[in-house]
């Protein structure tokens, strides 16, 4: 008979951990001197390298706080793990909204997780700035409270394809990708863009996550003999793919995603010769180790001294800059509606970090509509606008 009380005790205990139910209140999560913001990211699991984006964002918050906060309020970030898993992300979102009662949400790497929690956030109605996940379905069609603060899949895919086509005489394009939503979010818009320009891929290959060899893919590519390869691969597989290309003497240029960067790819493959034809989407104003990016690198290292910096580290900061603008404009009598209204007024905001400006309007919640490309020019990472055209 003692079974019941025990089991119930567990459930009740869990329930009591909650502090009442959350009414969708305009000022929930606000005090006179703080704004509570929920930051969700994949802090665990096999996609945890993405969470560097959330680390960068939280460093930015701390910088803002150290500079005195916004209208007398400091940002209190509540970090929640999504593990890049939809069910876990849903639990995280519900916890932040109903239990931690945050004012708004900001962050989110992993499109799958973001898409899964979207209905919940639409219902809850609090502002949500998606700072890393790229899937267009998050912000299209526009919803009042959801803002996209990074170049989305369409923008990225088109930027990749446009760069590929900017190389003179590009006729044959091949695609190598993972079979996951992340890779598709880049490759599908790129395919569409190529198709719009009358180009069908000559080869469409898959290289799954965890593969340590790309011989089959490279040999097939050698047969297809493309002028350009679009590679939507994670960091590790990118390095393996490039190494195997070099191994089998294939020196076709490769266009990579914003999931990799030149500096770290070079570090991983070990020699410049292997990466000299590798180009990546580069949503920033400068090279990662360039002067314009240095202040952001220093900022992250000030708060997270041991953090290794990659492309991901900076990606969410631009939307942070935009948020701070909106919060300032909303004034001391902050409400959720006011913040959303101010976000909608942001126009052509130069964030000082993203190569694209941010513009939100009630009709369009995808804020960043372009992305630069980076490649090695004379052995130096260089931001490019188009083939052989510096930014």
């Amino acid at each position: 008979m003692k079974f019941k009380p025990k089991k119930l005790g567990l459930l009740v205990g869990l329930a009591l951990a909650a502090t009442g139910s959350a009414a969708a209140d305009e000022t929930t999560g606000l005090t006179d001197d703080s704004i509570k913001i929920g930051v969700m990211g994949p802090f665990s699991g096999n996609a945890s390298s993405y969470s560097k984006a959330e680390i960068g964002l939280m460093a930015f918050y701390q910088m803002i706080n150290d500079e005195g906060g916004i209208n007398g309020r400091k940002i209190v970030a509540v970090q929640e793990d999504t593990g890049c898993d939809p069910a876990k992300a849903l639990a995280a979102a519900k916890k932040l909204i109903h239990q931690d009662e945050v004012f708004m949400l900001h962050g989110n790497s992993c499109s799958g997780a973001a898409v899964a929690i979207k209905p919940e956030i639409v219902d809850a109605g609090l502002p949500w700035i998606v700072a890393h996940a790229v899937s267009d379905t998050i912000s299209v069609p526009p919803v009042e409270n959801i803002f996209h603060g990074v170049p989305t899949g369409n923008t990225n895919g088109e930027a990749m394809a446009a760069f590929v086509l900017s190389k003179p005489d590009t006729k044959k394009v091949a695609i190598v990708e993972h079979s996951n939503d992340w890779a598709h979010s880049y490759s599908n818009p790129a395919r569409a863009y190529l198709k719009g320009h009358g180009i069908e891929p000559v080869a469409e290959l898959v290289m799954e996550r965890g593969q340590t060899d790309a011989t089959a893919q490279v040999l097939k590519l050698r047969q297809a003999n493309p002028d350009f390869i679009i590679g939507a691969l994670y960091e590790a597989e990118t390095a393996i793919f490039l190494r195997d290309m070099k191994k089998y003497g294939l020196d076709t240029p490769v266009m990579g995603t914003a999931g990799t960067d030149l500096e770290n790819t070079l570090k991983r493959v070990g020699d410049l010769d292997t990466v000299k034809n590798y180009f990546v989407l580069h949503p920033y104003v400068d090279n990662l180790d360039g002067p314009l990016m240095k202040k952001w690198a220093d900022m992250i290292h000030k708060y997270y001294p041991d953090e290794e910096l990659t492309n991901f580290s900076y990606i969410s900061i631009g939307s942070g800059v935009a948020l701070v603008e909106a919060l300032k404009a909303a004034g001391p009598d902050l409400t959720r509606s006011k913040v959303m209204a101010e976000l909608d007024k942001i126009e052509n905001l130069d964030t000082g970090i993203l190569s694209s400006t941010i513009t939100w309007s009630p009709e369009e919640h995808r804020g960043a509509k372009s992305s630069a490309v980076a490649g090695f020019v004379d052995g130096q990472p260089t931001v490019l606008k188009a083939w052989n055209t510096p930014y």
Binding site: N46, L205, G210
Partner: protein, 289 residues
């Protein structure tokens, strides 16, 4: 292209063979399949990385230290965690190895979770060109190390007294007790040997791949497939199965579709089950209970 694929398949397959062999070494002596073995592979690779990059030891001594350390970890795992529940249900034993591997992975993740670590290049041997076929230093290195290891392993097993004792335990555990072999110690040793062989695979993968905590999971599946293909529990079969799997992956990827590479292992497991459950080389499926 065919030759090139075969060569690259053999080089990949050599690693699968090593993992399948290490799984079989544990299975034959203890009748337990180590579901955490992928993480032993990962741990071996990470240990080598730490020794090389963080401490600055040269690759060869570092990998030897890592292999010895993994041997000791395997022994400790057997003594501390498997020993107490031996004789219990197999589900418990399977879950024990899964949980231990899970813990290792978790540890790797908390330390290096958000990084993808490159191992410094070790043997920069220039590739050899034979006609249109490229033989890279990595492939040469892996194939020769695995070949030497296998020759030593099977020589010891078949032509030395120690090897005869090992075979004795494999064939009849009770018989081994009757001739005074300390079977518990032998089990511990087998776990150590299995972990060490897995670590060798990790050391070999490390320079060609990049290190991340989930490195081992996919290799575990490949090891299983190789083991199944070769006849569950056959040592030589595991090695042949590994090589075949490596080559089959390359062929299916290049001649059919690259989406198949990742599931070649699963397809082979299912095919073996449907067509020849004893595996391609097994006399019969040795499922000891």
């Amino acid at each position: 292209m065919f030759l090139q694929l075969t060569l690259s398949g053999v080089s990949q397959g050599a690693i699968y063979a090593l993992i399948a062999l290490s799984l079989t070494v544990v299975y034959r002596s203890t009748t337990i399949v180590s579901f955490g073995h992928g993480d032993f592979v990962m741990a071996g690779a990470f240990l080598t990385y730490v020794l090389v990059v963080a401490i600055g030891i040269a690759f060869l001594p570092a990998s030897l230290i890592a292999i010895v350390a993994m041997f000791l970890l395997g022994v400790a795992f057997s003594r501390g965690l498997i020993g107490p529940i031996r004789g219990g249900p197999h589900v418990g034993l399977a879950l024990m190895s899964i949980s231990f591997g899970f813990t290792l992975r978790g540890i790797a993740r908390t330390v290096w979770g958000r990084e993808v670590l490159p191992m410094p290049r070790v043997f920069d041997i220039d590739p050899i060109f034979i006609g249109s076929v490229v033989i890279t230093g990595d492939a040469l290195f892996i194939i020769s190390i695995v070949a030497v290891l296998l020759v030593v392993f099977f020589t010891v097993l078949h032509f030395t007294d120690i090897g005869k004792m090992v075979q004795a335990v494999y064939q009849s555990e009770r018989g081994a007790r009757l001739i005074g072999i300390d079977v518990e110690r032998f089990h511990n040793f087998s776990w150590g040997l299995g972990a060490a062989l897995g670590a060798v695979a990790g050391v070999l993968i490390a320079p060609i791949s990049l290190l991340h905590p989930d490195l081992g999971a996919s290799f575990l599946i490949k090891g299983f497939a190789a083991m199944t293909l070769g006849g569950f529990g056959s040592l030589a079969g595991a090695v042949l199965g590994g090589l075949l799997l490596g080559v089959a992956e390359q062929y299916s990827g290049a001649y059919i579709d690259t989406t198949l590479i990742d599931i070649t292992a699963y397809l082979l497991i299912i095919a073996v089950l449907l067509i020849r459950p004893r595996g391609l080389f097994g006399r019969k499926v040795v499922v000891k209970v």
